[in-house]
Amino acid sequence: MIFSSTILENAVNEFARLPGIGKKTALRLVLHLIKQSPAEVQQFTEAIDRMKKEIRFCSRCNNISDTEVCNICSDRSRKSETICVVESLRDVIAIESTQQYNGLYHVLGGIISPLDGIGPDQLNIDSLLRRIKEEKPEELIFALSPNIQGDTTIYYIQKKLQDKPLRITTIARGIAFGGELEYADEMTLARSISNRQPVDNYMSNNK
């Protein structure tokens, strides 16, 4: 792409560095901003600037927050007896959208994978262990990706909590709701059969 202005080129390049944005999309966004009033663009850049400068991580659960403690942790109506361990903020948003969980969270910031240079030290595991010691929750729910690294992370943390009087659970793995059996892969199906549920239980959960 050849530009008549270096200023324009710089702006396009900055946008193109964002994930999922190519050069052409970047140019479209920049041209759109050029057409807008200075006040509107000011508002846009300020929002981004503030976002980076003022955003904080909750001192309790590492969730993204405006304040020292995030609004989930400071919500008195939520049950502090359960902590749901997730990989990232996106998982918090996903679980919150279900409106089925009323406990607290703990954001690890990733999962253990030595190959990718991520060991336990790079994650918020120490703060989780400290939290468990101080807050004495009754249950820890792991909601991590159902893969080998997810399992490594679960076993690692569980090992550290062996002597604690604490229920440790993980989200169910199996056939997706609304999915069709014949299209499920064999491993998922096999797992669903070995972890089958009593129908009573299943019915009452869905009432």
């Binding site: 030595p114 336990p120 490594t152 690692y156 550290k160 491993m187």
Partner: protein, 363 residues
């Protein structure tokens, strides 16, 4: 019954665009060196395994100067037609589909279209390192049991993580033993699964190999084959625990099914060291035909057999016996390549089976 009816290759290896129709169960492919006989077999293999038998990366399968390739074949499997398409896009993305439904995991395809290839370089199974023999076992077992392939892939992934962790131990004062133990623990289930499956297979596989070898070699040679695994001496868990310090020192996992091997002995001596070229080839055929028989028994129909340049291997008499056994005594589809069209025609005619000859010419 499994039959390939036609295949179309676009920019795969040395072909620009070529289509073949297979009307007979036995297909002879002949032509000079470099006209693409082996590539045609490899394309068939590709449709069965979603990968090449010969090249490690897909970039190597693309015709020189082109980007991407496409292979499309129409099979008939148990009287149902199955269209398999494998495409490498220009951006390097690979797609495989069956009847226009794309696979999310390619591993789900393995075993659906059973196939056995015999190629000249396969003597490596006998003369090469233990990796070749494990690969042979793994390909056989993966076609029999998808759960085996899954366990093996899981095992390899955890092993990689563990080895990488061991390497980081070398230049870090802080060693997280807990994490090492967790990874060791995770290795147990898939490791034991693979070990049990290999054991189970070899129990009936090895006698078949021995019997086939005797038939092919046709003499009173005493061939012994044994499965060797560290897991035979103690439980995997104990072995891993005992070798932990050694693993840390050597920065690699020293124990596990990734060290398994098959040992061949002839009249009590190491086969590799004393066997002649002919004996090696007899053993190779015995191994491959045993795989063929096991797949046949498992599926209820014969796998596709791809024989690449096999005439150089054995003397005429043995070859004829072998081909009779393969072509006449079972009803699977067979593809045979040879550089000499006359020899190929003559041999297939002698067998008195319906066949088709494809003469390839330089493009």
């Amino acid at each position: 019954m499994l039959l390939l009816q036609n295949i179309t290759l676009v920019q795969f290896k040395n072909s620009l665009h070529s289509s073949f129709v297979f009307g007979e169960r036995i297909v002879g492919i002949c032509g000079n060196n470099g006209v693409g006989k082996t590539n045609l077999l490899d394309a068939i293999y590709y449709l069965c395994f979603t990968k090449s038998y010969f090249s490690k990366t897909d970039v190597q399968n693309v015709r020189f100067g082109s980007k991407g390739f496409r292979i499309e074949g129409n099979f008939v499997r148990n009287e149902k037609s199955e269209k398999i398409v494998c495409v490498l896009r220009e951006n390097g993305r690979k797609e495989c589909s069956v009847n226009d439904e794309a696979y999310i995991k390619f591993s789900a395809h393995i075993g659906r279209l059973p196939c056995v290839m015999v190629a000249p370089d396969d003597v490596e199974i006998i003369t090469g390192g233990s990796e070749e023999r494990r690969k042979f076992l793994d390909y056989t077992l993966s076609q029999l049991d998808p759960a085996y392939l899954q366990a093996l892939m899981d095992y390899n992934r955890i092993l990689q993580q563990r080895n990488y962790l061991l390497r980081t131990f070398a230049d870090s004062p802080h060693r997280d033993m807990n994490l090492l133990d967790v990874l060791s623990q995770q290795l147990l289930e898939p490791g034991n699964r693979v070990y049990e499956s290999r054991n189970e297979l070899l129990e009936f596989f090895l006698p078949i190999v021995r019997e086939l070898y005797e038939t092919i070699a046709g003499s009173g040679e005493r061939l012994e084959i044994s499965y060797q695994s560290q897991l035979q001496t103690d439980s995997f868990e104990n072995l891993l625990r005992k070798s932990r310090d050694k693993d840390i020192l050597l920065q690699r996992t020293q124990i596990g099914i990734h060290r398994d091997d098959l040992q061949f002995t002839l009249n009590g001596e190491n086969f590799k060291n004393i066997a002649s070229q002919g004996q090696r080839k007899s053993l190779l055929f015995a191994l491959k035909l045993a795989e063929f028989q096991i797949l046949l028994k498992h599926n209820g129909f014969a796998p596709i057999l791809l024989l690449d340049d096999v005439f150089e291997k054995l003397d005429d008499n043995r070859m004829r016996n072998l081909l009779h056994r393969i072509c006449v005594e079972n009803n699977g589809q067979i593809f045979i390549t040879d550089t000499h069209c006359e020899r190929l025609k003559e041999t297939l005619e002698q067998l008195q089976v319906r066949h088709q000859i494809i003469e390839l010419e330089a493009q």
